[in-house]
Symmetry: C2
C-alpha cells in the first residue's frame, strides 16, 4: 500500500533479466535473486507494505557501486540503497522493483582523526560498530548521534537521522562533515571535506544528507566525533501532566541548562516500558534527562535542573549515575517503539514525527492528546522534547485497513498542527514514500526546486524512485 500509486511497478518498467545478467558477471555470487533475500530487503520497520526488489547486490567498494549504478542507468533500472532497514517511512521499499544495493559489506572504518575529532567510514558501518572501534582503540572519542536502532551511518546520513542526543550534539546534518556519493550516471563525487568550515561552492554534503537515496548512493561519510565526557549523570522524573513536563523542559532550555538528552514519555508509554523492560516507574508523564560535561559542570547542571522540575510538580526525581543503570534506562527508552508494540500483539506501528519550535511544543502535544482521546486506537506518545520533536505510535492491526486509514488521517492532522506552529512534518524519519503530500504542504514552491534538482541529477528517475519527490 503506497501513498502514491504512480510510484508502483508499472508494466512499462523494463524486464530486469538483462541487467541482472550483467550484474552477475560483475559481482558473481554477490548478486542475489532468491526470494528470501529479496523479501528481507523489501520493507522497513514500519507499516509500509513491503515490495520486492528484483535483485539484491552486495558491493564492496566505491568502484563496484559506480559500475552497478552505470549498468542500472543503461537499463533504466531503479536503484534502491539499503543500510539496515531500520527506518520507518518506507524509504527502502522497492516500489518499482529494481536493484537493491545492500551496503553491509562496505563496513570498513577508513580513518580516525583523533586530534581533529573526526572519522571516515564506509556507509555500511553501523553506529555501534564505530563506537566499539573507537573504544577499543582507546581514542576517548565516540559518535554521539543516536537514533536508538543500530543503524548504518550511511543510512543515517541519507535520512538525516537524529534521536535522543540531538539536543546536545546535533543531528546528522551537523555531524556529517563530508561524504562520497555515487550519482545516477555512476560518477563518484566527494562532497564537503575534513576542514571544520568551508565556503567553497554549493554545500553538496548537506544536499545529500537527507536526500534518502534519491540523488545518489552515499558510500562513505566523514563524521564529527565527540569526546567521551568526563562525567555523565542521568535522571528520571515524573510529572502530574504532560504540560507540566514540557513547561519544565522549556524553562530549562530557555535558562541555558545544557542537556545531552531530554526525553518525554507519556503515561501510556511508561506503562508499556514497565511491562517490556521490567521497570517499576510511575505510570505518569515522565522526563528522562542526561547531562554530560566535567564533574563540576554536570553537578551545576543537575543542580539547576532539579528545582525547575520541582517547580513544575516533578516528583520522584531519581538519578542514575552508574553506567549500567544508565544503559538500562536508555535501552528502555530506545525500546519504546518495540515496547509499545507489545501492548497490542501482532500490531504494526504507524509513527508520527512532527517537530515544532520548542515554545509551541506544549500546545502541539496538548492538541494531539486532546484528539487522541476521541480515537479508538492505542497510541503512546514520546519524543525528543528538547528539540521540539515528538512521536505518536498508532498500534494498528495490519489486517484492518480502516485502522491504518484512521491513523493516517490522524497523522495528517498532527502535521497540520505542526505546520501551523512553524514546525515540520518530520523531525528525523524522513519523507520516504509516506510523506510526499506532507512535504508539498510544508514546502510548497520549495518542492519545485527539489524536483528541479532531482531532474538535473537523475533525469531518468532511477535513484530510489517514488521517494521524497516525484518527477
Amino acid at each position: 500500500m503506497t501513498d502514491n500509486a504512480c510510484a508502483t511497478k508499472r508494466s512499462s518498467d523494463p524486464d530486469p533479466a538483462p541487467v541482472i545478467g550483467e550484474l552477475r558477471s560483475l559481482l558473481g555470487d554477490r548478486i542475489k535473486t532468491d526470494e528470501d533475500i529479496r523479501e528481507s530487503h523489501a520493507g522497513d520497520a514500519s507499516y509500509h507494505k513491503p515490495m520486492l526488489p528484483d535483485a539484491v547486490v552486495f558491493p564492496e567498494c566505491n568502484g563496484e557501486v559506480s559500475k552497478i549504478v552505470k549498468l542500472c542507468a543503461r537499463y533504466r533500472t531503479p536503484v534502491v540503497p539499503y543500510g539496515t532497514g531500520t527506518a520507518v517511512e518506507g524509504g527502502i521499499v522497492a516500489v518499482r522493483g529494481g536493484v537493491c544495493i545492500d551496503l553491509s559489506r562496505m563496513k570498513r572504518v577508513l580513518r580516525i582523526g583523533e586530534a581533529d575529532l573526526d572519522a571516515t567510514v564506509e556507509a555500511g558501518v553501523t553506529r555501534k560498530q564505530l563506537n566499539r572501534h573507537l573504544e577499543e582503540a582507546f581514542t576517548g572519542l565516540y559518535f554521539p548521534v543516536d537514533p536508538g536502532a543500530d543503524a548504518s551511518l550511511g543510512g543515517m546520513a541519507a535520512t538525516r537521522a537524529s534521536g535522543s542526543a540531538a539536543v546536545g550534539y546535533g543531528t546528522m546534518r551537523e555531524n556529517v562533515l563530508g561524504l562520497t556519493a555515487i550519482l545516477a550516471d555512476g560518477s563518484i563525487i566527494q562532497a564537503g571535506g575534513r576542514a571544520r568550515k568551508s565556503s567553497a561552492g554549493y554545500d553538496l554534503a548537506h544536499l545529500f544528507v537527507g536526500s534518502e537515496g534519491t540523488l545518489g548512493v552515499i558510500t562513505e561519510v566523514t563524521l564529527r566525533l565527540a569526546r567521551v565526557p568526563d562525567a555523565v549523570s542521568a535522571a528520571v522524573c515524573a510529572f502530574p501532566d504532560i504540560s507540566s513536563a514540557v513547561d519544565a523542559v522549556l524553562e530549562m532550555t530557555s535558562a541555558g541548562i545544557e542537556m545531552a538528552r531530554i526525553e518525554l514519555l507519556d503515561d501510556v508509554q511508561m506503562g508499556a516500558i514497565n511491562a517490556y523492560s521490567g521497570f517499576d516507574y510511575r505510570v505518569a508523564p515522565t522526563l528522562f534527562f542526561e547531562f554530560h560535561g566535567s564533574e563540576s559542570s554536570v553537578a551545576e547542571r543537575v543542580a539547576a535542573a532539579r528545582p525547575v522540575a520541582d517547580r513544575h510538580g516533578g516528583e520522584d526525581f531519581r538519578r542514575a549515575n552508574g553506567q549500567r543503570e544508565r544503559d538500562r534506562l536508555w535501552q528502555a527508552r530506545y525500546d519504546a517503539y518495540y515496547a509499545s508494540q507489545t501492548m497490542r500483539p501482532g500490531s504494526v506501528g504507524y509513527v508520527t514525527d512532527v517537530c515544532v519550535p520548542v515554545s509551541r511544543l506544549a500546545d502541539c502535544i496538548h492538541r494531539t492528546k486532546k484528539e487522541l482521546k476521541a480515537s479508538t486506537l492505542i497510541a503512546p506518545l514520546f519524543g525528543h522534547v528538547g528539540d521540539g520533536n515528538f512521536h505518536v505510535v498508532f498500534l494498528i492491526d495490519p489486517d484492518r485497513p480502516e485502522e491504518l486509514a484512521e491513523a493516517r488521517e490522524f497523522g495528517e492532522r498532527i502535521v497540520e498542527f505542526a505546520l501551523e506552529m512553524g514546525g515540520t512534518c518530520t523531525g528525523e524519519h524522513g519523507i520516504g514514500m509516506g510523506k510526499l503530500a506532507a512535504l508539498e504542504q510544508e514546502h510548497g514552491e520549495g518542492v519545485k526546486v527539489m524536483r528541479a534538482i532531482k531532474k538535473a541529477l537523475d533525469p531518468h528517475n532511477i535513484m530510489n524512485p517514488g521517494k521524497v519527490v516525484e518527477i
Copy 2:
C-alpha cells in the same frame, strides 16, 4: 581584472535601457543609474577590480525583489545582490553589468523568538543592528557569528561567513535555520524553517547558504541566537614562534577546553596592530582567547588553558576581563586587515583564506611562512586557528600588476598546500570571482554537480553570473 575573461561584459549582452525603464515604472526613484551610486556598488573590500552595474535598485519587500528579478529574467539582464560590499572575493562585482539589488532598505527585524532562541530578519539587517535590537529589548540574547565587518545578515548567509567566534558558535552554515529566497524566475521560496531539526526533503536552506547570489536572492533569514554568557574572559598570550602557538591551540582543542574564540596573529600583524590601535603588545606570534560560560566554567577553562600555553612557551599571559578592555582587544583583532594595509599606504590587500584540519594547521602555516621568506611582498598572517582557518594578506600596489601576479601565484600555492592536507581553498570568504579555478581543483567532479544545479535553477545564467561556477 577578473580570473575569468568569459565572465566580463560581452557585446552580445542586452541593452539595459528597456529593463531600466520598466524598473523605473515599478520603483520610481528607488532605481539609480547615477555614476556615483553605480561606482559605490561596483567593488568590494578587496583587490578585485570594480565593474559597474547598469543600475542599482533598492527594493523594500519580497514582492518587489520578485518583480525585479522577473523583469531581469525577461530581458536576460544579470542580477547582482548587494549587502554591504564588505566581502573580499569580488562576489558583488558586476562583471556583466546588469541590475544590482541593494538590500539595505530591507532592514526590518521581523520576529524575535525569545523562548526558541531564534530571530527572523530581512536580509539588509546588519549583525550589529540585530545585536543592538536584541540588547535594547533586554532579551539576554545575541547573534554570535562575527566576521568583523558589520556585514548584512543576508550577505553573511550568501557567503557562508564566519569569523572569530566560529570555533565556539559555528558559522552561518550552523546558524541559519531558514531563509526566503527569490529565484531566477521570480518565484519566492521558503527553505528550512523554525524547527530545530527536520528531515523534510532536500536541505535547500544549506544549498542557498554559501551560494553567493548565484541561485537566488536571499531576502530573509531565520537565525539561531545565543544567550549572552554569564561570564566572559579574554586573554592574550605571546609565543616564541608560530609552531608553539599552534601546538598550544591543538592541545587545547584536543583536551576539550571549550573556547568561544581563539585567534592567531603573527609578529608582522602584531606590529601593525600596535601601530594602528595604539597597543604595546610584544611583536611576536600571539594568541587571542575568549572563554564564555558560567562563572565557574569560565574559571575552569582559563585554568585549564593557561598551563597548556605555558608548556608551549607562552609568555605574558594577560587577561582582559572588563568589557571595555575586551572590546578594545577584539576591535584590534577585527582591524587586523585594515591595520595591515597601513603598513603600506595606498596598497590593496590580496587575502588568502585556506582552512585545514586543525592537526595539519602548524604544518600548513609553516610551509606558508617558509615560502613567505622568499617573497618580496609584505604579508602579515592571522587566523581563526581553532577552526584551522588562516589568512595571509599580501599588500600590493594596485598599479603594479606584477605584484598582484606574485600574490596570486602565492595564493594558489597555499591552496595547493591546504588541499594536499585535506583542507579547503576558502574557509569563509567564498569563491566569488577569485577562486573559480581553486573550486575546480578542490571539488573536481563535484563542480559538475554544482553546475547542473545552477543550470536547473538559473537556466539563463542571470543570477550573479561569473561567480562560483560558470555555466
